[in-house]
Structure formats: C-alpha cells, structure tokens
C-alpha cells in the first residue's frame, strides 16, 4: 500500500515538476504565437485575399475556405519558368557564395577565438560584437562612401596607379553586393560558431595528437566533425535573414543586375497596387526556406541520436 502511495506521489511530483518546467516555455510560446504564428497567418490571409477595389490595397481573407490562390499561382508561374526565375536563382547564388565566404573567413576566426586565452578572448569577442553597435544600414552607407567614385578605395587605387582610373563599384556589381552581404552578416555567423567551438572538449584533440595524428588530421577527424552542428546553426542564422535582404543591393548597387527576391517583395508590398503578389512571394520564399530548415533539423536530430548511441 505504502509502495503504491509512494509511486502515486512520485508520479504526481513528476507531473507537477513537468508543469513547473513547462511554465518556463510560456513566454517563448506567447512570443512565437504573437510574433510568428499570427504574422505568418496574416501573410497567408493577405496572399490569399482580395485587392481593395478602391484603394488597391490588399484585403486579408481570414477564412481559409474563401482563400483565392490567384496571386500565389501567378507568383509560382513567374518564378518557375517566368520572369522572376532569374531573381530567385540570383538570390540563392548570392546567399550561397556569401555563406562560403562566411565559412572561409568566419570559421578560422571563431576557432581562433575559441582557442584563445581567456583574457584575450574577451577583447576579441568585444571586437567581434563591436559592429553590432552600429546599425546595419549605417554600415552599408559607410561602404557606399568607401566605394564611391571619389571614395577612399578609388582614391587609393588611383594613387597606386595600377588599375587605371576610378572603378564603378556601385553600379550593378555583383561582387560589391556579395561582399556587402558577407560583411553585414558575418558577425551573426561567427558568434554561434564560436559558442559551439568553445564547448568542444580539447582533450579529444590532444588525444588525437598523442596518438600520432598530424594537426591537419586531428582537425579533420576531430574538430571539423564536432563543429559541424555549430556550423549548421551559424549557417542557418546567417542565411535565413539574408534571403529576405533587399537593402544591401539597394545601397551598394541599385541595379536590376543584382536585385534579390527581397527587392521584389519590397516593391510589391510598398510600391504597387498588388500587395498580394508580395505576400505570395513571401510564402514561396518561406517554403523554400522551410526545406532548408528541415534539412538542418533532420541533420541535428541525426547528430543527437548518434551521440546518444555512443
């Protein structure tokens, strides 16, 4: 009897404990509901809604049974085989190249910081966070001044006299836009990667070295596999906002040659009489990003299960 009571008490205690811990998720859940679920449903309602015959603005259709898929169909037909296909491919290309730059530049930096002595680590981390003190837009404007025909970069090129005359970096130059993206987003890449690398057990590398592995081999067999999840997280954090970026191109190029899907969304939502099209493009972009996110989640789950099996 006592045993049964004790078990019941244990179960009740466990339930109470679970409820207690669940309460901690409440603020996050409320946040997600208010700032993700509701807004995303609003986007759906907008994309499947109707244009206001007087104002040309979009009337959201909140009832899914009355949704009109015309705008989404149009957006899909324009993206797959239509005139917006190029801009989507360009967006993926720019984001992909920028991610590679982030990895090539950011990984060594994050690794170096993670392996630095505690004292100097603080200074380096502060230096890494420093760009956050200035808004993204201001940093882009700084690039505009640097790369302008009479800016410092051109004056330097003119001074060394190798390239012959000022270069027009700010008119439809894909390299400028990609460098701008990499510059703007790389702090978002380094910090989560650093957090992952910093937690890594250094003794594993030492063991590998003790067992005769070269530095390179120890890196590829120990550090790289263990940092892969951090790399994935850093990539996701960097890439997702980059897909919606439109002002980097706006400031550093402004040319259709370098426009991204975010520029089209911005135009349709703010400058046209077809905000439904903008909302439909948001949905298409979101679906594409969900596919990327799904890959990340699956790989994270796999990594977690493989650790558990060990």
């Amino acid at each position: 009897m006592n045993e049964i009571t004790a078990t019941a008490k244990g179960v009740r205690h466990k339930q109470q404990s679970t409820r207690f811990w669940a309460l901690f998720a409440a603020p996050g859940t409320a946040w997600l509901l208010a700032l993700f679920v509701v807004p995303f449903y609003a986007v759906l309602a907008l994309a499947f809604g109707h244009p206001d015959p007087i104002f040309g603005s979009a009337i959201p259709e909140w009832n899914p049974l009355k949704w009109d898929a015309t705008a989404l169909r149009d957006a899909l037909s324009r993206i797959f085989g239509g005139d917006l296909g190029t801009v989507v491919i360009r967006t993926f290309t720019y984001v992909g190249i920028t991610l590679v730059i982030c990895i090539l530049v950011g990984y060594p930096v994050a690794y170096y910081v993670a392996r630095s002595a505690r004292k100097s680590r603080g200074i380096i981390l502060t230096a890494l966070v420093l760009p956050f003190w200035i808004s993204y837009l201001m940093r882009m404007l700084a690039w505009v001044n640097l790369l302008a025909p009479d800016g410092m970069v051109n004056r330097f090129l003119d001074w060394i006299g190798i390239f012959g005359g000022p270069k027009n970096f700010l008119s439809g130059n894909a390299v400028t836009v990609i460098i701008g993206l990499a510059y703007g987003y790389i702090p978002f890449f380094i910090l989560p990667l650093y957090a992952s690398l910093e937690r890594m057990d250094v003794r594993l590398i030492e063991a590998a070295r003790d067992l005769g592995a070269s530095r390179a081999r120890a890196f590829w067999r120990i550090t790289w596999p263990l940092s892969r999840q951090g790399l994935m997280a850093a990539s996701v954090i960097t890439v997702l906002p980059m897909f919606g970026d439109y002002y980097t191109n706006g400031y550093l190029s402004g040319s259709p040659n370098t426009s991204m899907i975010g520029n089209q969304i911005e135009y349709y939502l703010h400058g046209s009489t077809s905000p439904q099209t903008g909302a439909a493009l948001v949905i298409v972009l979101s679906v594409l990003l969900v596919i990327l996110m799904a890959y990340y989640l699956v790989s994270t789950a796999r990594a977690a299960s493989s650790v558990a099996l060990r």
């Binding site: 995303f40 244009p51 007087i54 130059n173 402004g254 040319s255 259709p256 703010h270 400058g271």
Partner: protein, 419 residues
C-alpha cells in the same frame, strides 16, 4: 501611382537627410518579409463604407473631374477664428522650410507639429486606418488624392480663407484632377528629365539623343532611372515617341517593359538618389525630377563646380510634369488653422523662403525661373529645372489608372527590376 520621390535634399543640407534616414529606418523595419506583410495586412480593412466607383473620380487632362461634395462632408463655414492648435501637418520629411513654419507659429501664436510619411500609398493607407492623424496634408499626389475624396477622408476647402489663391500659377487654378480647386491647392511643381554632369557627358549629345542616351552602351554602368513603375516606364514610352503615358494597350506596355529591360545590360541603377549620385559622379546621367539638380548643388564634392550640373528636359509637348497638392483632412481638429497655413504657403515671399529649403519650385505665378535666378536662389545653368506656366499647362501628365491597367505597368516594371 506611388512616388518614392525624395524631395528633402535642400541646398546646404548634409548628404544624409532626416528623410532619407527615416526611409532607411523604415526599410530596416521591413527587413522581415512576413513582418512587412503583417503591417500591410493590419492596415487593410473592408472598404464597404466608402462610396462606390472612385475610379470615376480620376481626372485626366482631356477629361477633368469635378470632385463630388458630399452632404455629410461640406467643409467648414466662413468667418471662423483660427483654432489654438497645435496644427498637425502630414508631409514628406524636410519638405517645408523650418523658418517658414516658425514664422507661421509666430504669426498665429500657435505650434506646428509635422508628421512625416514616405510614400503616397503609405499616406493613404495610414490616414484611412487612422495610423496617421492630423489637420492637413501638405504634399499629397493627385494620383492618390481621389481615393481620399472617395473615402471622405479630406474635406472641401473654404476659399474665403485662402485669400492668396490668385497667386497660384494660372495653369493650376482649375486643375484637371480637381476642377474648381474644391479640395486642393497646389504646393510644388516638377518635371521628369535627365540630370547629368556636363563635364562627363557632352550636353550636345544629351540634347541630340534625349532619353535615348540612356540606351547608349557608351554609358554602361553610369546611368540610372527612377525607382517608380510609371515614371520609369514613361521614359521607355517617350523614347519611342509615344506621348500617351497612360496607355492601357498591353502590347505597348509590354514593349516599353522590354525596352526598359535592355537597360539591365547597361547596369542601370534604379534609384531616386540622382540628386546625390550625379553630383558625386557615381552616375553620369539619370532620369530625375527637375528639383534634383537644384538640391544636387549641395551634394557636390567640396571642390565641385555647380556649373557642371545640368538638367535636360524634353520639349513641352513631350514633357512629363507633375505637382503636389495641399489638402485639409476631414477629421481635422484645427481646420481653420489648416486653411490659414495653406494661405500662408501661397504667399509669394513665403514661397521663395520655402524654395530655398525644399529646392522644388513653388506652384505660384511669381516664382518664375527669372525671379528665382535673379534672387540667386538657383544658378542660371539650372534654369531648365524651373518650369513655366505653359509647360505646366501643356506638359504630359501621368495619372492614376484603374487597378487592372495599373497592374500591367507593375508587372512590366517588376520584370525589369528583377533583371
């Protein structure tokens, strides 16, 4: 029509104006697409309460419109005393002289509060949904004004308060978009043309080629076009000699879009920043508003010469012209004071004061090119930036279109900007 027109770059202002900063901050706020869409969604509501058939209120030069005076929206009576204020004005940022505002405050012993907006479409949406409230709009567009009338968001003006009405440019005293000036009076004038640095491109070439110069591969990477669907498409139409800038012929619109798309190979910039890009040499020549080069003088490098700035515009029969409007909101708490402010703006001397700050020509008969240049408010070399009554009267107008036709322009423009 949506205009992301930048009118804030007055002479002597820093390169990053407050309005630009606001625009860019707004751009930042719209970073997340879903958030931007949410804002749009939240700003939308049923229009069932608004009168039907607002497209009938779209006036054109060949078919001027007499806007209706609704029985429940007749405006204020004559002979009322100005309210204590504060007067709340909706306006583009930095699009009215602070000195002028101070003078008004002193004269009427009141305060003026200015709330800014970025684009006409935003203005209409925010006024409609109550996100923006105030007494008057200092600079709205006739492309969107008809919607404000249809939704009874603006009130008819009482002319008895506007004693300076006669100062208005004759061409705009009875405008096609508001026959009889029942709801509006004009604020500023502008035309579309080409801003360029005459030390980087020979004016003779610009004069000879006109709009076609943008399609000259010699200027690859050095050209720009306005980031506005109708105004950029107008260039493609005019280049082919088509002066119907409001054509609804799908084939003509598609061809104009295809012509614009040719500019992609020339790395065309699509921007309103011509006022800055041309003086600094980022762009050699670009489509712009006529006020841009007057404002551009202040954007020149420290060793820059104002005489290097030029503005080309087509002949009057092919010249796209436009003007902004002043109007009083129906919900105005200070409608008499708003009328007084409109009247104050229409005073000749006040208009000159305002011009020194905003750089766009006031829509008054007295603010002629001769007088502006004589007063040293603009260089002689930029005389082309200033319009005559004849140009305003006979110039081409881009006016609002029904939604279905507007979408044709939007699709073509979107296809162009997608590259």
């Amino acid at each position: 029509m949506v205009r992301f027109i930048d009118k804030n770059h007055s002479m002597g202002m820093p390169s990053l104006s407050r309005r630009q900063f606001l625009i860019r901050s707004a751009a930042g706020a719209a970073l997340i697409p879903s958030f931007a869409a949410l804002l749009a969604a939240c700003g939308s509501s049923s229009s069932s309460s608004t009168p039907a058939g607002p497209e009938a209120l779209i006036g054109t030069p060949t078919k001027p419109v007499k806007l209706p005076i609704y029985t429940d929206n007749k405006g204020i009576a004559a002979g009322l005393k100005p309210e204590a204020g504060p007067l709340k004005i909706l306006n583009y940022a930095d699009y009215v002289s602070p000195d002028l505002v101070k003078a008004f405050e002193a004269k009427f012993n009141t305060k003026v509060e200015i709330t800014t907006f970025d684009a006409d479409t935003d203005l209409v949406e925010k006024v409609r949904t109550g996100a923006l409230t105030g007494d008057m709009i200092l600079s709205s567009s006739y492309d969107t004004h008809y919607k404000l009338v249809a939704a009874k968001l603006v009130q008819p003006l009482n002319r008895s308060y506007i004693t300076n009405f006669a100062n208005i440019l004759p061409a705009l005293q009875d405008p096609f978009y508001d026959s009889g000036s029942q709801y509006t009076v004009p604020y500023t004038l502008y035309a579309l043309g080409l801003s360029y640095r005459n030390d980087l491109i020979d004016p003779k070439i610009v004069d000879a080629k006109g709009w076609d110069v943008l399609w000259d591969p010699a200027y690859k990477g050095k050209i720009s076009i306005l980031n506005n669907d109708r105004e950029s498409m107008a260039v493609a139409l005019l280049r082919k000699g088509i002066t119907d800038l409001n054509t609804t012929d799908p084939a003509v619109i598609a061809q104009a879009g295809a012509d614009l798309k040719q500019l992609v190979a020339s790395n065309v910039k699509v921007t309103i920043d011509v006022y800055k890009n041309v003086p600094t040499g980022t762009t050699t020549i670009g489509e712009s508003y006529s006020g841009d080069m007057i404002n551009g003088v202040s954007q020149l490098p420290t060793d820059g010469d104002p005489k290097t700035l030029s503005f080309w515009k087509p002949t009057t029969d092919k010249l796209p012209v436009n003007n902004d409007l002043q109007t009083v909101l129906k919900s105005a708490a200070n409608p008499v004071l708003a009328h007084e402010f409109i009247n104050f703006i229409l005073d000749n001397e006040n208009a000159f004061t305002n011009f020194t700050f905003v750089g766009y020509q006031p829509a008054l008969a007295a603010t002629t090119a001769d007088e502006i240049i004589k007063r040293n408010l603009a260089p002689e070399t930029l005389r082309t930036c200033l319009l005559t009554n004849d140009e305003v009267a006979k110039g081409l107008r881009i006016h609002a279109l029904p939604l279905a036709q507007a979408k044709l322009y939007e699709s073509a423009y979107s296809s162009f900007t997608a590259g």
